[in-house]
């Protein structure tokens, strides 16, 4: 060592102060706020590997220092480096994408866990279809395309000129479903055709979901297919569309978890079409006795229970079929959770002839709780 003594002393003292003060200040903040010292939680838990991990995570989440530094760092990374964290990918022309979804499109298939009843979508869908068939109910599967599958050109300069892309995992899934005789709606082809004709975007710019135009196109395609199969006939209730404008800060933008960016962002102005009953003038409402049950995720929720209400896929599909539907929505849970909920609510089966099951493309790999095979209640319990 050949260090200058004064510089060494200053650096040493500065370093010690820097690492020691964080903990001391945290204690002051906690005591000042009348809270128990988080650090002492260590002695309140059995020191197992899991408890130690949890303790470390809690300590970090509660840290005053982390709370002070994290937003500023993330804001600067976003502004200077266009780095948007674990969940967000910045595309072209201000378009934002949900990064885990993009990763599903790009990455190799994950290895199967070895439990075929847990993570194989085809096994779960076919089992569900067969259980429905026993009750005389038809199944129609709708894979809602990821935003990047419809707008790859908005993701990267290298995809300029591409109007749509279907990932190998999705192609594989649709082929296997087709081979198993499961009916599906190919929204990828439908959206691609619509894109070729121009018009407003089918997806929102700051959000991972479809736009009102995307909703309308999807509803028309699904209804057309249901009628073509002859499973039911169109009803006799007339619906009309009433314009409704909402302002929305996209979910992808909110995933950045940087409040300053949310404050600075200009919300998207979205022109929705609210579905109105022509006879009463009331906004669309579900009917538990409908012939059609629609299951799905946030792609059903957006504009439907979100603002402005009754303007999402459920209402628009009802408008196309001229009859109200029964719906069951589980945000991010269309792979398994929504069927678990269905199991708990047998009353929803009343009068059903068709189940439309929507899930977003990325859930092929990212579905919450995987793709479990969920039994249906025995037929005798249908009419509860």
């Amino acid at each position: 060592m050949n260090n200058a003594r004064t510089e060494s002393m200053v650096l040493t003292v500065g370093f010690i102060l820097a690492i020691a003060c964080a903990g001391i200040w945290q204690a002051i903040v906690e005591i000042g706020g009348g809270r128990p010292l988080q650090a002492l939680d260590l002695f309140r838990r059995v020191p197992t590997a899991a408890n130690l991990r949890a303790y470390e995570r809690d300590l970090e989440d509660a840290s005053w220092l982390t709370k002070q530094l994290r937003p500023g760092m993330q804001y600067r990374q976003f502004v200077w480096l266009k780095e948007a964290g674990e969940k967000v990918l910045i595309g072209r022309d201000g378009w934002l994408f949900y990064k885990p979804g993009v990763n599903v499109l790009l990455s190799r298939p994950r290895p199967i866990s070895g439990n075929p009843g847990a993570d194989d979508p085809v096994a779960a869908i076919v089992a569900f279809r067969e259980a429905l068939a026993e009750r005389g109910i038809e199944l129609l599967v709708v894979v809602a395309p990821n935003k990047e599958s419809v707008y790859p050109d908005k993701l990267t300069w290298r995809a300029a000129g591409m109007s749509g892309v279907v990932g190998p995992k999705t192609v594989g899934l649709l082929r296997r479903l087709d081979a198993a005789g499961v009916k599906t709606v190919d929204l990828f082809a439908v959206f691609d055709r619509v894109r070729q004709t121009g018009g407003p975007p089918l997806y929102l710019i700051q959000d991972s979901h479809w736009s009102p135009e995307g909703v309308a196109v999807a509803a028309k395609a699904i209804a057309g297919q249901i009628i073509d199969y002859g499973w039911i006939e169109r009803g006799d209730i007339a619906f009309e569309i009433r314009p409704a404008v909402v302002e929305r800060v996209g979910d992808v933008l909110r995933m950045l978890q940087v409040p300053r960016l949310e404050q600075e962002a200009v919300p998207e102005t979205i022109r929705c079409g609210q579905v109105i009953r022509s006879d009463t003038g009331a906004t669309y409402k579900d009917d538990p006795d409908s012939q059609v049950l629609i299951l799905g995720d946030s792609f059903l929720r957006i504009y439907e229970t979100d603002e402005p209400g009754s303007a999402g896929l459920i209402a628009h599909l009802a408008g196309q079929l001229k009859q109200p539907l029964t719906s069951l929505v589980s945000d991010g849970g269309a792979s398994t959770l929504v069927r678990q909920e269905l199991y708990r609510r047998p009353a929803l089966w009343k009068n059903k002839k068709i189940v439309v099951w929507e899930f977003v493309e990325r859930d092929i790999e990212l579905g919450a709780e995987g793709w479990q095979i969920i039994p249906l209640l025995p037929i005798g319990k249908n009419s509860e």
């Binding site: 060592m1 050949n2 260090n3 200058a4 003594r5 510089e7 060494s8 002393m9 200053v10 650096l11 040493t12 500065g14 370093f15 010690i16 820097a18 690492i19 964080a22 903990g23 650090a39 020191p47 197992t48 590997a49 130690l52 470390e56 300590l59 970090e60 840290s63 220092l65 982390t66 530094l69 994290r70 500023g72 760092m73 993330q74 990374q77 480096l81 266009k82 780095e83 674990e86 990918l89 910045i90 595309g91 994408f97 990064k99 993009v102 990763n103 499109l105 790009l106 990455s107 190799r108 990047e148 790859p152 993701l155 990267t156 300069w157 290298r158 995809a159 591409m162 892309v165 190998p168």
Partner: protein, 480 residues
């Protein structure tokens, strides 16, 4: 516990440093001797190190303790004044066999079982039930250190440890416990008895630690994202494949050398002096040169405890090539229980043997220095493909993509979105600048100046800010 974590930096480290430097103050007031002080400091470090290690999984402290007791006992047997050559040999053999058996069981048990099943499946025979074994973190490092003690004492290169606590402190010492450098007992025996502490030494430790932390948090972690995207992609264009493997080469260097820098730095803070583990390896002009600069503590360990006992280069050219191949093959296997590591080691062994065969007068050695650096780097990049991929099949597909046989699909075009963003390009450029910096961190930290202090303060601030905004990122070498 990970050095680049909130709990280590802001809880564990200040408490340990506080306790360590408070001990003399307490014991001098109690009029205790210097020997007592040095022993108590070692004991304090041992306890702190067990907390550090047990943080990952408390059960495995017992395993480390077992390795320590076995090798310490081996050392006592070897150094027993009345012990004859047979007893000494028995002592060292027992210590080495027990250590290697534990390493073999925990590290290679699963590998062995899955390969047996693979072979059985060739003959249409059903496989055996797999007995699940959890790999204890850092076991490869601390068993090697423990064995170095028994062997050094047997060879007379080092005195036996004065107590089990001292020896266990050497094995468990938290700065280098889980990912090296592999500290040999003879290099540290004297330091366990007495160490120098000074402002200058502590400050140089801070310098090394901050540089290492910055390498890990500011470079290795973001580079890891690029490498993961490349190696995780279903299909790759040629440029993407090369970009991905280059990012991985940078990541593994900054990750591992960052850890080593932090280890050296933490060691200096508590008075230890550990060896330099990296010396600008990507500026190597040959694979032989690369191995003089990369993971120096491992390559010298393998040289002294494996290559030379095998005969080194003293038994003619053919035996030299064979010895090089054996050493690198085992070196590969040391990194992980997977055929990819075996191939990685064999590849390096072959290249070392080939360079030895060419000799120093070959055409290759007459090329300009820059050309040799580039050729060496490309050869190393190819080897990292095996190191990074989890199966040989994956590695072959990746290598195929590097020669243009992997892209052409639409999703491959989208990969640009995750590989070539502004952040990724800036990080890669920054990595190149740091790699090209003429003074390596080990030398840079030796003499502190005011400008350097300012750089270190800025680097620490940035690294802490980045650390607080990143997800959990363990070091790559923890898995070895």
């Amino acid at each position: 516990m990970v050095f680049s974590s909130y709990i280590f930096l802001f809880s564990f480290l200040p408490l340990v440093l506080g306790g360590y430097y408070a001990l003399p103050w307490v014991f001098r007031r109690l009029h205790r001797s210097e020997v007592f002080l040095s022993r108590s400091r070692n004991l304090f470090l041992l306890l702190a190190s067990y907390v550090f290690y047990g943080w990952w999984n408390p059960k495995f402290i017992l395993l480390m303790l077992l390795v320590s007791v076995v090798n310490y006992t081996g050392g006592r047997v070897i150094s027993y004044p009345k012990a004859g050559p047979r007893q000494k040999r028995a002592g060292v053999t027992a210590a080495v066999v027990v250590s290697l058996s534990l390493l073999g069981f925990f590290k290679y048990g699963m590998f062995f079982q899955t390969n047996i099943n693979e072979v059985l499946s060739w003959f249409g025979v059903g496989g055996i039930g797999i007995f699940q074994i959890v790999l204890p973190m850092g076991i490869s490092f601390y068993t090697f250190q423990a064995m170095s003690y028994s062997i050094d004492v047997y060879r007379g290169d080092a005195p036996p440890a004065r107590s089990l606590a001292d020896f266990a402190c050497y094995i468990a010492s938290f700065p280098q416990l889980v990912a090296g450098p592999i500290v040999r007992y003879r290099a540290i025996a004297q330091q366990l008895i007495g160490r120098d502490h000074s402002w200058e030494k502590f400050a140089s430790g801070v310098s090394m630690f901050v540089l290492g932390l910055s390498k890990k948090v500011l470079l290795a972690n973001p580079l890891g994202g690029i490498a993961d995207a490349g190696f995780g992609a279903q299909t790759l264009e040629v440029s993407d494949a090369w970009f991905g493997v280059t990012a991985y080469a940078f990541q593994i260097y900054f990750d591992f050398s960052g850890y080593s820098d932090m280890a050296v730095g933490l060691g200096r803070m508590i008075g230890f002096e550990f060896m330099k583990n990296f010396d600008a390896p990507y500026r190597a002009v040959s694979i032989t040169d690369f191995w003089r600069r990369w993971h120096i503590s491992l390559s010298t360990f393998l040289r002294d405890y494996l290559y030379i006992p095998l005969g080194g280069n003293r038994r003619g050219p053919r035996r030299t090539y064979l010895n090089l191949a054996i050493v690198m093959l085992l070196g590969g296997l040391w990194h992980g229980a997977n055929w990819t590591f075996v191939v990685w080691g064999a590849y390096h062994g072959l290249l070392l043997a080939f360079e030895r065969y060419l000799g120093k007068e070959s055409v290759y050695h007459r090329l300009p220095r820059l050309a040799r650096v580039v050729i060496t780097f490309v050869l190393v990049l190819v080897s990292w493909v095996f190191f990074r991929c989890s199966t040989l099949h994956e590695a072959v597909l990746y290598l195929a993509a590097m020669i243009g046989l992997g892209g052409g699909t639409e999703p491959a075009r989208l990969l640009a979105a995750v590989l070539y963003g502004r952040n990724e390009l800036v990080i890669m450029a920054l990595a190149v600048v740091v790699l090209a910096w003429p003074v390596p961190s080990y030398e840079w930290s030796e003499r502190l100046t005011w400008p350097k202090a300012v750089v270190l303060a800025a680097a620490l601030t940035l690294a802490v800010m980045a650390m607080c905004s990143q997800a959990f990122n363990p070091f790559l070498y923890f898995q070895f």
